[in-house]
Amino acid sequence: MQMHSLAFDISHTLAGGLVLISFMMLYQDRLYSLLNVFALHALVLALSVAWQAYVQDAPHLYVTAVIALVFKAIVIPVALHRIVKQLGIHRDIESAVGIGPTMLAGMGLVALSMVLMLRVTADADPLAREDLAFALSVVLLGLLVMVTRRNAVSQVVGFMSLENGLVLAATGAKGMPLVVEISVAFSILIAFIVIGIFLFRIRERFDSVDVSALDDFRGERR
């Protein structure tokens, strides 16, 4: 029993840590520091997945953990660093909403996901249900990062943190098949985004996503 509760506490701490780091992303106002925080996010995810692999005795999850570590904690942040430097993107992040309201909204979302998930999964085993509640919080906070930030790199970072939440949910669901495949599919998706930014060099995108400029392209402004 003692062992079980220790396992429980550790995975709890790691999942809670992910939610906390998601909050840290909400108030970063520099691109580089946002990328560093994301690398930390991915590192904690890798630890969490590895821990689940150990606890559930599911060796295939180690593959997922390694993908998270190598790809998301190292390769992507480094690549994005270089893109930011080479393209000379503004290093301050313009946010659409102030930090105060964003943090409040974040707390609201976490409370919402806790209430929803804990109530819905009353019968499931405690580890899975709390994992799921944390995962949903991370997903929603990732969405919040995406909608409150205006430039493309921070939208990508928001999407990747959202995706980390999904991997957390998938590993928490004991014995779920295809976890490795799904994490690979997602990594390809992210690679596409990063390559897309790099090759297409949508430089204008980085400075602003001005919706009124979009109307011009559509030829629909009167």
């Binding site: 819905v120 014995g175 098949p177 295809l178 897309g196 949508i202 629909e220």
Partner: protein, 481 residues
Amino acid sequence: MASFNPVMAVLLIPICTAALLAALPGYRLTARLNVVASLATFVSALSLFVIDRPPPGPYVLIDDLNIVFIVLNTFVGFTTSIFSASYIAHELETGRLTPVYLRFYHAMFQTMMFGMNLAFVSNNIGLMWVAVEIATLTTVLMVGIYRTHAALEAAWKYFILGSVGIALALFGTILVYMAARPVVGEGQDGMIWTLLIQHAAKFDPALLNVAFIFLFLGYGTKVGLAPLHAWLPDAHAEGPTPISAVLSGLLLNVALYALLRFKILLAANPAAISPGPLMVTMGLVSVVFAAFMLYRRRDIKRLFAYSSIEHMGIIVFAFGMGGPLANFAGLLHMVMHSLTKSAIFYAVGHISQIKGTQRISRIRGLTVTHPALGWGLVVGVVAIAGLPPLGIFMSEFLVVSSTFARQPLLAIVLVFGLLLAFGALTLRLTTVAFGAPRGSTASAEASYVPMFAHLALVLGAGIYLPAPLVLWFQHVAQLLG
């Protein structure tokens, strides 16, 4: 013939051709290969009707429901490949596409067909999710292929919204697995649709409800339902027109199919919420919203993109109402819409190439200068607006009349939306098709066969539906509950 496996054929032909097309140079050869491969895929799909079906395995399932989708998918894929050959030839001449991008385009076209077919045949909800993701990614890349500022903008928007949608759908899929695990057992089994449906009655209803909300929002984004539709018009307007045709005609159906699978799953659990009201609401909102938006369109591809939102709204509404008649109507409407909308995009593709613009105000008097294209467009728009004797009239009539019998108030809102859309479309049609010609009058090197084949099918279905087809659809409508 015992070794011929049609399911593997509809998957392997596209993916192998994709690899081949990525390697081969030259326009003539690759465009032909694209057509031949699409035809082969279509024939293999047709053979599903006659060859004994494989029993449902852990990954592949063939039942009466998905055969309809697969055959429709491969057929429109085939006609689009013919249209695409002549469309792309023009794009190469004008230099909008370079040979490298042409290879890329053809490879992506076949990869997309692979993704869509995989989504249809998969019996595993995880695999289905992966397949939808493949299909989305390839279309994102093709929307951005012209690399103009507007195209990249559209691709980015599509990408971000599509990814968020697909992420929500994955969360929903994980929740379905969580609901299934205590009943079906751990591992692979918890994701196999045929097993899920057998045991669905014993799943935890609360968990299933939340799962469906996520799945509905996730796949609903890809269906293009109203508050989640923002990516759709841009993606349609900025990509090559063959892609607009398959987006409207096929990709929306893929997401719809995923939604229907989960609707059936929910219906099998008596304690879970009924998905109907949710679908009815979103469907109606889409119809009315899109109908209003039609009036303000200045871009011809955007106009028909909004019309797609309207029609997907009607289809989701019909499936949300449920019952044999409404399901039948929804299914018929889906088939008719795919055929008609892709035919319209074939016409619009050639028209915008001739005129060199997509602005409606710069296109006038098409029936005078280009009779075949102009009248093709007229018939197509008449069909999509829901006038008799074409097929869409019949399916819309069925949707409306079955709704009137059960929920007259909803039917009034629906009819209001339909009439609004009808007004907008006829308004635009009269300016584009008739009147004094404007813009270039250069003759078209168009391929008319795909467009007229689709329109003939739609007209034929409006006049006479063969009895076996009706029986088949009725059977499928009952499956949908």
